[in-house]
Symmetry: C2
Subunit: 333 residues, 2 copies
């Protein structure tokens, strides 16, 4: 007799944490539950909040904890993935050296995976999203920063020091390198993250002499977002189009570096900027054909991710499923 | 009863091909045999020459072909690694679509591996050289060009389109990108290969006004090599020191990009420029500490490769050994 397998994934962010239950095929059983992370209340409260979010997600799925086979938790870095420990992530201040995996294992008495949030999102897309039919995939997540994840043959490339797939911090410029949020210079993130698009836009507006429609958008909104720039570009504003095109170029440089090192089946893009639509990804493809060796340039699939903000908890649940499967193999041996 | 296992590795280059026999621990049984490749004589002659080199290596090891368990062949790209086919490498003109693995398998009736030459060298260093005690390693081979190989958990990262580890062609510059031998711009190879060092040296000498000792070296030798630049730097020539230091910086950028994507245990450097000695690798380490995230910057071992020009055939033999081991597993199952 086989009972259906269910896995809980928990995706912890600086503002909210989200948990959901998926079945053995990665399909969510119910809508995920979101609760505020409130890191400023301290890490003990944070761990309690994780427990609570997991329990609520199981209830929401109309399941009992006894029906859950494993749990996966994803958090932003810095972290020790193998050790299951959050170190001192800038987004979760003042948390420090939090033994997340041990806590969850002890609380729920279930096999528990611990993973970087960008890696988990990549694994989610690989398992049931954009990459579900490929052997290897690189995911760039374009948000305030740029996250990355590399999956090969159903394994997350965690790296020996939990820094695998930190693709926002590959360096692509030496002569005139922009300052990155990490305080280093020339990182991809300093060119192509949503906040870098905004920064580049203000620089361009300073030099533009008032012609672009973005001036008016800024005056009426009191701010500018990457989305505003993409909307203005769609409406034909020349400056906005140039900014969007440059962004596609920078992402193509990052993609090319992945084609010439990992050489995956697929490179996928996730995050808010993917709302820019087909013309943007087509510009990335265009520049990759210009920049990369012909064979990977022609054959590597370049596309948007599919799971949206669900990728993290689904991927975390998928990592939990891997730990569960390995625990079965251990029992067999 | 167990008989000792022997493997032949053949490393095919544009000028010479080299074969040697190693034991099950990767130790060469005798000195390798080198014969001229003479690609201009055509690919059929080339395949015959491979057979001959393998046979001579077996004789040199005072063994018989019946005592060989498997063969590994490494060639320069372009290639289809999984298919065992040389496509149209610039170094082996006019060869085209040469079914190397099939030919060697049929000739010797032995399990045969086929691998990119830089990947094979990386595997050799991983198996028995600089990386023999680590789980994962990235190797940069600094010659006329820059080759690369990535090994993780005893597996060569071949890539889905045989372009894994093409690390000389990661892009590190956009604003003022140097032209690379691959006709692209801004590649690491265009900055830090031996021939790029020479090119940068001539540019610097044009602007130097006759102060550097390199002017005299050029007048007396009628040419300049990367080695000359390193020698002049060792003797204290200011311009040469600056050129060497810049080269270390460029290699540190390439290394940092590997630390932020692969995050290996070790990054190793092979090729002629490694004769530059400890001060050069120490400069690379210095800049990696400046450029990379603290944890991988502190913990990743950065060092020279150990096997010299033997890495290719030893690594090819090691890849042959992997095919042999998999063939045994197949029989068990």
């Amino acid at each position: 007799m086989t009972t259906p397998l269910y896995f809980v994934g928990l995706d912890v962010g600086g503002t909210t944490m989200k948990a959901g239950v998926v079945d053995d095929c990665g399909k969510p059983v119910a809508e995920p539950i979101s609760l505020p992370t409130e890191p400023e209340r301290g890490q003990d409260k944070g761990l309690e909040r994780m427990d609570e979010t997991i329990r609520l997600a199981v209830s929401e799925a109309k399941l009992k904890l006894e029906q859950i086979a494993a749990i996966g938790v994803a958090t932003p870095g810095t972290m020790d993935i193998a050790g299951g420990i959050i170190l001192d992530p800038p987004n979760l201040k003042p948390w420090r050296n939090v033994h997340v995996r041990r806590h969850i294992e002890r609380t729920f008495k279930l096999p528990t995976a611990f993973q970087n949030d960008a890696n988990a999102a990549a694994y989610g897309e690989y398992w049931v999203g954009a990459g579900k039919d490929v052997q290897s995939m690189v995911l760039f997540t374009l948000g305030t920063g740029i996250g990355g994840g590399i999956i090969m043959d159903d394994r997350v490339l965690e790296g020996q020091h939990s820094h695998g797939g930190e693709l926002g911090h590959m360096r692509i410029e030496m002569t005139n390198p922009r300052l990155c949020g990490c305080n280093r210079r020339g990182c991809l993130e300093a060119y192509a993250s949503a906040s870098s698009v905004v920064k580049r836009t203000f620089e361009a507006l300073d030099a533009d002499g008032g012609k672009s429609a973005l001036h008016g958008m800024f005056r009426s909104h009191g701010e500018l977002t990457a989305k505003d720039v993409f909307i203005a570009a769609d409406k034909g504003d020349a400056l906005a189009k140039q900014l969007v095109d440059q962004t596609a170029y920078y992402l193509a440089v990052g993609t090319t570096n992945m084609l010439h090192s990992i050489d995956p089946d697929m490179v996928a893009f996730a995050g808010g900027m993917t709302a820019a639509g087909e013309s943007f990804i087509e510009r990335i493809r265009h520049y990759v054909r210009e920049l990369a060796f012909p064979v990977p340039a022609e054959r590597t699939e370049i596309r948007y991710a599919l799971l949206g903000s669900h990728a993290g908890f689904i991927g975390a649940a998928g990592c939990g499923r891997q730990v569960y499967q390995r625990s079965l193999e251990g029992k067999k041996g």
